[in-house]
């Protein structure tokens, strides 16, 4: 498990076709809304977040990363009854951070992806918590065991999701 520090010239930059760019986030949002009805434990996953991180680290373009994250987050917000922007802001930050980190690090191996997903899951949760509590005034409950479990579960699923994204990404 090696996270190699490389220069910007050494890392590969990928792109995704337009259908993949549109359909994969939509599918992630759809699954996130539909699957927990049948399998309630699925709520610990955040599939749109994993797609955001996957797209951002593959493209390695902070602008594309933050815009993709923002749009996915706003779409996710629209399905909740909370104000629009909670997931939007969190995923904007994650998209920007993941793509910026993608420039610096080689994130092609499973170990690196596992750690990056845990890290950005934590960032996402902290940003969401702060905004929801500080800006919107929601009563939030922070539970370390739950967050830790969610982080590990998302990281494991993230490794699989990134492997699937590898199949549709194209070298520039």
């Amino acid at each position: 498990m090696a996270i190699t520090y490389t220069s910007g010239e050494q890392v590969e930059v990928y792109r995704f076709s337009i259908p993949a760019t549109v359909l994969i986030p939509l599918a992630a949002i759809f699954l996130q809304a539909f699957v927990p009805l049948r399998f309630p434990f699925f709520l610990i996953f955040d599939l749109p977040l994993l797609v955001t991180i996957g797209f951002a680290t593959a493209r390695r373009n902070p602008l594309a990363g933050l815009l993709t994250g923002g749009l996915i987050g706003i779409m996710q917000d629209a399905l909740t009854h909370q104000p629009i922007g909670l997931y939007g802001i969190s995923k904007t930050v994650v998209g920007f951070g993941a793509s910026s980190l993608g420039i610096k690090l080689d994130v092609e191996n499973a170990g690196a992806r596992f750690l990056i997903t845990i890290f950005f899951f934590a960032v996402h949760e902290v940003v969401y918590f702060l905004i929801a509590r500080g800006l919107v005034g929601l009563r939030m409950a922070w539970s370390w065991p739950h967050e830790l479990l969610s982080g590990v579960a998302n990281a494991l699923l993230g490794v699989l999701v990134f492997m699937l994204l590898d199949r549709v990404k194209q070298r520039t």
């Binding site: 939509l26 949002i29 759809f30 996130q32 809304a33 539909f34 927990p36 009805l37 049948r38 309630p40 709520l43 610990i44 902070p62 602008l63 933050l66 815009l67 923002g70 706003i74 779409m75 996710q76 629209a78 399905l79 909740t80 009854h81 909370q82 104000p83 629009i84 922007g85 909670l86 997931y87 939007g88 802001i89 904007t92 930050v93 920007f96 910026s100 905004i131 929801a132 800006l135 919107v136 005034g137 929601l138 009563r139 939030m140 409950a141 539970s143």
Partner: protein
């Protein structure tokens, strides 16, 4: 200047995008009012996701129906036997309850008491959720095209589920009772203590506003109090699991919901609630002895007696069963269960198991689509009962099955056992 903008372009865009979203968030938080129109982006997102969810749910339901209707018939006879035995048991139970209800109605009439009745419901299928632990809401496949409006109560056979929050053209968003922004007026069944039931961030239900010097036993049933003007009084919410001290001399009573909020499939939306003054029953209710008489084996009557209606004692017995049994299901046809079930043809939800008043004679909104006009009077349901062919059960325009038994003579031989003989699965058949 240009070099600075170019160098920090990404950061500037990030700050700009975040600022715009924070601004939007602040505007929403400040302007949130019940009458605020739904945002376009929400309509787009729901329009993009829900058709797929509907298609998937439809496919799943169809394949499940094929399986259950054609292949999975093993054990149906045994189940039928058990259900018939259950009907017999419930008939006796009903006699006791109806006498209590009659007494209550008389007292309510004396006091000029007005009570709320669910008179119209609509069955709906749950097609999706919010996908977030902090937003406990689900989407159903009925919208303003079907007559749904915000703040309508949503229930299942087991208990209340939530209320309609946003209504779109073909879908609606239902806020579940365990969401932290939800609040329901509640009353404890035995102690009659009232409070407000709120959801928590963790998705639990907590009944507050009950003074700490009160004693609440765990396991006590919590019902709707009707004080929120959304849920009619008497619907089951859940059971008390534990009691902890709350703030300001109040208790925090933790409640486990009777409806499984994490696995909702079909729900009923209460589309109309009537407020009526209680009327005492005009005729006496059926007696337990009549029910027992109907269950006991007896000698078949002679044919010449059949035309005259036999002896009063025996004629009353099957008549009361014939009318009473449809009443058990026939009220459902009028009320909650019957309204819901025919609408989609798949819903199995019925009246919540509460001492909740159901209006005899109220019309089901969706019933005429699937059932004959006299469905609400119990006629179709009567076909499943031993004395289903009795005119008393099929008599159109009946408002009270008990009255039917009292006024409609039974022209048939009055031996219920004789009627049951052709049915091999009858619980009375010796095994």
């Amino acid at each position: 200047m240009e070099s600075v903008l170019g160098r920090y372009r990404n950061l500037i865009v990030l700050v700009g995008v975040l600022f715009a979203q924070v601004l939007g968030l602040a505007v929403q938080v400040k302007r949130t009012t019940p009458s605020e129109p739904t945002r376009l982006i929400r309509i787009w997102a729901i329009g993009a996701v829900t058709p797929l969810e509907k298609a998937l749910v439809w496919t799943q339901t169809s394949s499940s129906n094929v399986w259950h209707n054609y292949f999975y018939l093993r054990g149906v006879r045994a189940e039928n036997r058990a259900l018939k035995a259950e009907i017999e048991r419930m008939s006796l139970e009903r006699v006791r309850i109806s006498q209590d209800a009659d007494q209550a109605r008389r007292l309510q009439a004396l006091l000029g008491f007005k009570e709320q009745f669910i008179s119209q419901t609509m069955a709906a299928q749950v097609i999706g959720g919010s996908g977030s632990e902090l937003s406990r809401s689900v989407f159903i496949d009925k919208g303003n095209r079907d007559g749904l409006k915000p703040d309508m109560a949503v229930i299942t056979a087991d208990g209340i589920v939530g209320k309609v929050l946003h209504v779109y053209r073909t879908t609606s968003e239902v806020l579940l009772i365990n969401d932290q922004s939800s609040g329901v007026g509640a009353i404890l069944d035995q102690t009659r203590l009232q409070g407000i039931l709120n959801g928590t961030a963790a998705g639990e239900l907590v009944l507050g506003r009950v003074m700490s010097d009160e004693t609440v036993p765990p396991g006590e049933m919590v019902l709707t109090s009707g004080g929120d003007s959304i849920f009619p009084k008497g619907l089951p919410i859940g059971k008390v699991t534990k009691i902890t001290p709350g703030s300001d001399l109040f208790l925090n009573i933790h409640v486990r919901p009777t409806a499984d909020l994490s696995r909702l499939e079909e729900v009923l939306v209460v589309t109309k609630i009537d407020e009526r003054q209680a009327q005492p029953e005009q005729s006496g209710g059926a007696r337990a002895i009549d029910i027992l008489a109907a269950r006991l084996p007896s000698v078949p009557s002679k044919p010449e007696n059949a035309g005259k209606g036999a002896s009063p004692a025996t004629s009353a017995a099957p008549g009361s069963v014939a009318a009473k049994t449809p009443a058990t299901t026939g009220v459902g046809g009028n009320g909650v269960a019957g309204n819901g079930a025919p609408a989609t043809g798949t819903s199995t939800a019925g009246t919540p198991k509460a001492a909740h008043p159901v209006t005899p004679g109220s019309d089901a909104q969706s019933a005429p689509k699937a059932t004959p006009p006299n469905a609400g009077n119990g006629a179709p349901a009567a076909r499943n009962t031993p004395n289903a062919k009795s005119p008393a059960g099929d008599s159109p325009g009946l408002t009270s099955p008990n009255r039917a038994s009292a006024t409609t003579p039974s022209p048939k031989p009055v031996n219920p056992q004789a009627d049951r003989k052709p049915q091999p699965d009858s619980p009375d058949t010796p095994h």
